[in-house]
């Protein structure tokens, strides 16, 4: 369990009909880090996430989780091992209340999720834990609100609470602040920071101020391949990265805070 790297990919490749979206990526995510994956649009970040969680099947290469080869495992099995992802478009169960959303995640540990002959009342013992999770993302007052009625930012928060309920070892976040107003962005940054305590986070994000505030390590992808790696400062000063991704904005970000 105490290996240095939680996740490692070896020569990971994904090809779509003559087009290589992920090209020979060797990535190592250190335990306890918040690791960002950035890169221009179409660099292959989402595809990479999809490979990690088996929503896509890698063409070649290996994926190791805690030094165990998980390349041939199915999505659900990977989730059970402790890798939980969020989606670029928010993923909640819209016609369930916030509490139920979280409870569904908690239920998996109960082992009784196939018990179709039991009353749903048996689920009430999970309520406290679910409630606590909602509280941790500031949604306690919305526990019984049907999720469709929540605003976008709150849906994201709820999604995070659900993700945390799985007690994942590794959290994968795909653009967690996309489409949010500034207030929400700040809140989510705090959330992620909290969530990352004792866990490892791998995230894709275009909002550089978020990246610069949160991340310990950054990998830059371009055209499916790793361009460079390092902390924010090192990466943002790399002229290749500036040209391919940041443009002149890195300076602007620095000024902004």
């Amino acid at each position: 369990m105490s290996s240095e790297f939680v996740l490692e990919t070896r020569n990971l490749v994904k090809e779509f009909k003559g087009f290589t979206a992920v090209d020979d990526v060797n990535l190592k995510v250190r335990r306890g880090h918040i690791h960002a994956l950035i890169g221009p649009n179409g660099a292959g970040k989402t595809t990479f996430f999809n490979l990690l969680t088996k929503f896509l099947i890698p063409t070649r290469g290996q994926i190791l989780f805690n030094e165990q080869d998980i390349t041939s495992m199915k999505s659900a099995a990977i989730a059970r091992m402790g890798i939980i992802r969020s989606f670029q478009i928010s993923a909640v169960f819209p016609h369930m209340t916030a509490l139920e959303n979280v409870r569904v995640a908690l239920q998996r540990f109960e082992g009784g999720s196939f018990h179709f002959w039991k009353s749903e009342k048996t689920l009430n013992k999970l309520n406290q834990k679910a409630y606590a999770l909602l509280e941790s993302v500031g949604l306690e007052t919305f526990a019984d609100t049907v999720t469709v009625e929540l605003s976008y930012g709150r849906k994201r928060a709820l999604e995070l609470a659900t993700t945390l309920a799985m007690e994942p070892e590794l959290v994968l976040l795909d653009e967690p602040t996309q489409g949010m107003g500034h207030e929400d962005v700040d809140r989510v940054v705090e959330l992620i920071r909290k969530a990352a305590e004792g866990r490892t986070v791998l995230m894709v994000e275009h909002n550089l101020s978020v990246v610069s505030k949160l991340c310990d390590q950054i990998t830059v992808l371009t055209r499916g391949a790793v361009l460079t790696e390092g902390d924010y400062k090192a990466v943002s000063e790399n002229p290749d990265v500036k040209e391919a991704y940041m443009g002149s904005e890195s300076a602007a970000v620095e000024r902004a805070h």
């Binding site: 087009f19 660099a43 292959g44 595809t47 930012g153 489409g179």
Partner: protein, 240 residues
């Protein structure tokens, strides 16, 4: 072209606009005035009703009342598919890329409404990603590429009033900068643009005026020149 030379030509004038989705009343009396060649933004929190304002102009909401004059023509009773023909281009926030068409078909899809649109070559020069993936299925593009496609698509039609909803969403900073340049060029060409943005830093240097929205109403109008003096206000409304 002759109208556009006239100064202060009122390209879009919205008065007392109310909009509804089914039974929920979303917009409560919006007043807007946009002149030819202007770039204005709609700012506000999530759910303030900015997207709904754009959709109402396109007649894409459940129902709407009030007045919407485009080029001096009342359009409150006009059917949706006639509005684009008045020279309006709309880029939706959910991008609306068609899965059944490839990238190039997506680009060529909207009928041209005026003659002086951007040509396909220029578009590909602007967004090389799209050129590279032009025969891919539209929805197979990455999130950001789809965003570029959605934007590029309406430039082709020659529309001279652009309604752009969160176009920088999910784009890499380099592309965002490129988009800013594009918008400046379009403005120079005399196009009128309404921009809905979260990314204030992107919008601020481009816009002539900003409308601040909250709860389906316009609460403040800020000129570019007043930005510094009204920083407080922006903070309270947007948390910038």
């Amino acid at each position: 072209m002759s109208d556009s030379i006239k100064p202060n030509y009122e390209q879009l004038k919205v008065t007392d606009l109310h909009a509804f989705y089914g039974e929920s009343h979303i917009l409560h009396g919006i007043d807007l005035l946009v002149r030819r060649g202007e770039l204005v933004t709609l700012l506000g929190r999530n759910g303030a009703g900015r997207s709904t304002t754009l959709k109402s102009i396109m007649n894409m909401v459940g129902s709407r009342t009030g007045s919407i004059m485009i080029n001096g023509r009342e359009t409150i009773d006009t059917q949706a598919h006639h509005i684009a023909r008045l020279g309006v281009g709309y880029c939706p926030e959910e991008r609306g890329i068609f899965a059944s068409l490839n990238v190039e078909e997506n680009l060529l899809l909207p009928p041209t409404v005026r003659s002086d649109g951007v040509s396909l070559e220029e578009i590909y020069a602007m967004f090389p990603n799209l050129y590279e993936r032009r025969f891919s299925q539209g929805t197979r593009l990455s999130g950001g590429e789809q965003q570029m496609l959605a934007m590029a698509r309406i430039l082709r039609t020659g529309a001279n009033l652009l309604l752009l909803d969160e176009i920088t969403e999910g784009l890499a900073p380099v592309i965002v900068q490129k988009l800013a340049e594009v918008l400046i060029k379009l403005k120079e060409k005399g196009l009128t643009i309404i921009l809905v943005e979260q990314n204030f830093r992107f919008a601020a240097p481009l816009a002539d005026r900003h409308y601040l929205m909250e709860h389906g109403q316009i609460v403040e109008e800020i000129h570019a020149s007043e930005l510094n003096s009204k920083q407080e206000l922006l903070n309270t409304y947007l948390g910038v």
